[in-house]
């Protein structure tokens, strides 16, 4: 279980509002506020949470596409350990060969004036990795792996459907053979029948190319299917990290419980009984004291209002940030595994 990435106390604050034209920022939005976790080589790590919880910001801060405010991101490459947050920009560019990203919107993430061949080749050209016939061969090889029609490589992105465009984005990200790929909502803008194609493609490529994924999505069923472990984020912090099955069926954090109870099962016999969380999401510029979820938590206690719960490993590989993680008996996702269900009927 060799780690690929160690994220230590990562923070990303955005300044908002200014006093006067050139004045100092009035306040900061704490998009990522002290996140620590480890991503194991070869796994798919899911990242879920409501919109505005800082999922995308965390993904970007790990790649240092945006400059994190503080914290460390350690990349393990063989025996070398590189701190992404402290290297200079030339070295960072070199590190991006190992870490790439695919995006939600396949329509706006491709340059409309470049042919698909040039789009896929660009990372290699920019990094002076290949040229001439070698470059061509590598483009064709990756396009094939991603299920693109090699005959169509000289076309422009507008000639492709959403699913095919997402394949182009994947080919571009993987052409440098990175170790780590951040998938930011890779299928949420695609049609249902196409989503499964892309999900299966990502799974196949992971095995073929020994990839590690950070899979950001708000569709919890998709994350369950795609990921080995899942991290739940709330207002810039991780509240629970666990292997997928444990997180879905035996959650230990009240926020995870409410998420799991709200998954609409595609089965009319499995009527959902959502635990509705009260109130609105607090302003991330001014998060609540103590446990950030206490304003909406149904199990809230006085302790929760003042003391900040740490993310602690309760069982092996099950991390929870809740004062009452051991005492609370929480419900998991509604849908039971098929095998268990049969025994009941």
């Amino acid at each position: 279980m060799a780690p690929l990435l160690e994220i230590k106390d990562l923070k990303l604050y955005y300044p908002v509002g200014r006093s006067g034209l050139l004045g100092k920022p009035i306040t900061t939005v704490k998009a990522v506020d002290g996140v620590s976790f480890t991503i194991i080589r070869g796994e798919s790590m899911g990242l879920v949470g409501e919109s505005g919880s800082g999922k995308t910001s965390l993904g970007r801060a790990i790649l240092r596409v945006v400059e994190p405010t503080s914290g460390k991101v350690l990349l393990h490459l063989g025996k070398k350990i590189i701190d992404i947050t402290s290297i200079n920009h030339d070295n960072l560019r070199r590190m991006w060969k190992h870490m790439q990203m695919i995006f939600q919107d396949p329509y706006s993430s491709l340059n409309p004036r470049m042919t698909v061949r040039d789009i896929i080749a660009e990372p290699m050209v920019a990094n002076h990795i290949a040229k001439g016939s070698d470059l061509k061969d590598r483009v064709v090889d990756m396009a094939r792996r991603c299920g693109l029609d090699v005959e169509q490589l000289s076309r422009y992105p507008h000639a492709f459907s959403g699913g095919q465009r997402q394949r182009i984005g994947i080919a571009r990200a993987l052409v440098l053979h990175p170790d780590f790929l951040v998938c930011d909502e890779p299928i949420s803008s695609l049609d249902v029948s196409i989503q499964a194609q892309i999900m299966n493609l990502l799974k196949d490529l992971q095995q073929q190319l020994n990839l590690t994924y950070l899979f950001i999505a708000h569709n919890l069923s998709v994350v369950a299917y795609a990921c080995d472990r899942v991290a739940v984020m709330y207002l810039g912090q991780l509240v629970e990290v666990a292997p997928t099955e444990i997180l879905y069926y035996k959650p230990k954090h009240p926020y995870t419980e409410s998420l799991m109870s709200a998954i609409p099962a595609p089965d009319p016999d499995n009527v959902m009984e959502p635990i509705l969380i009260s109130g609105e999401r607090p302003n991330p510029a001014n998060p609540p004291s103590g446990c950030r979820f206490h304003t909406r938590c149904q199990y809230v206690d006085t302790k929760c209002e003042t003391q900040v719960p740490e993310l602690i490993e309760y069982d092996s590989d099950h991390f929870i940030a809740c004062h009452y993680a051991e005492e609370l008996q929480l419900k998991g996702a509604l849908e039971q595994p098929a095998a268990v269900k049969k025994e009941h009927t």
Binding site: V192, H218, S258, P264, D267, P274, L276, P337
Partner: protein, 333 residues
């Protein structure tokens, strides 16, 4: 006419005018809806589900023309039967029905409110358009409605602007506006697609409560099969402007007959087989464009049961499997 009938759509055909030729968007769509029933129209982008709902309220964009067919609306108030297709889309009658008897909610709550008027203003506008009440009364009704849909502190919220609301709150405010005249039909076009799961669950619960309380019928337009299974009584599966299967929610999810329905259900991840880690079964090929000329059943290029000289020639006839489960596929002829 059956007593509890609310809406009857018969052989609806809608075309898009592109440079003097016509492209069929909706082809021979027929269905009906009873009082208090929740139906779901399911399909992927471009299948015509939104266009169908727009036609019911006569809100079609100018390029789209209703060629033939009937949309019969059985008015609950004066027991009239109106053919919506025959009405002037800017006339008095449709204005009277729309908003008063048909409420609509959309996917994008931000773009369906005007940013320059308060939420209360925009709800009052609907109320005063359809009911003879004073401004003060309308405002009080608005506050009550905001309370009904679960907006905290409705007295303050009524004077707020849409940008001051979060996504879930805006969606609630839109529902409040849509139900302000107690409509007998609510058309919900992807109302939860832009929302988080927890908010989505809240909105679904709210819609179910309102439906039970006021006996509203709901047409739910979505591509999310999870939402469909949770909320609807009957389901219509559409593909490229045609209904290919209709049935009760149990028929569709436990006994799907059309290859497209079956494939759709197998293409989505289910938590039940988490442990087995089964591969998803994707539908091959791409969603066709409305400009692709596909003869016969439009699903035939992607269908694993494709029968040459049959499926690609004529569209199959309707096969009634049971009294309310029908399929349009040569496999059952």
């Amino acid at each position: 006419m059956p007593k509890d009938m609310l809406l009857e759509i018969k052989d609806l055909e809608i075309s898009l005018l592109v440079e003097s030729h016509m492209v069929n968007i909706i082809d021979n769509v027929s269905f009906d809806l009873k009082f208090g029933e929740v139906i779901a129209i399911v399909g992927e982008s471009g299948c015509g589900k939104t266009v169908t709902s727009q036609a019911i309220a006569r809100l079609l964009p100018r390029e789209l023309k209703i060629l033939s067919g009937k949309i019969l609306f059985y008015s609950k108030i004066d027991e009239r039967v109106l053919d919506v297709c025959k009405l002037d889309p800017k006339g008095k009658t449709i204005h009277y029905i729309r908003g008063d008897q048909i409420g609509m909610i959309f996917q994008e709550p931000m773009s369906s409110f005007s940013p320059v008027y308060t939420i209360g203003n925009q709800i009052c506008e609907v109320i005063r358009l359809h009911q003879k009440v004073s401004k003060k009364k309308a405002r009080n009704i608005s506050i009550e409605l905001l309370d009904t849909v679960g907006i905290p502190n409705p007295v303050a919220a009524v004077d707020q602007y849409p940008h001051e609301f979060s996504g879930g709150m805006r969606q609630r405010a839109m529902i409040a506006r849509a139900i302000s005249c107690n409509p007998s039909l609510l058309i919900a076009d992807e109302p939860t697609t832009a929302l988080d799961v927890t908010i989505q669950a809240q909105i679904l619960v709210l819609l179910q409560e309102l439906q039970k309380e006021f006996g509203m019928a709901i047409i739910f337009i979505t591509h999310d099969l999870g939402v469909v299974a949770q909320i609807s009584h009957r389901v219509f599966i559409m593909y490229m402007g045609k209904i290919v299967e209709e049935g009760s929610v149990h028929d569709i999810f436990h006994n799907p007959k059309h290859p497209y329905t079956e494939n759709l259900i197998h293409a989505i991840p289910k938590l039940g087989n988490l442990r087995e880690r089964r591969r998803l079964v994707p539908i091959r090929g791409n969603v066709p464009s409305i400009f692709d000329e596909l003869h016969g059943c439009a699903f035939h290029p992607r269908c694993k049961f494709f029968m040459p000289d049959k499926c690609d020639v004529h569209f199959p006839k309707c096969k009634h499997l049971t009294s309310n489960h029908s399929v349009w596929c040569y496999l059952y002829e």
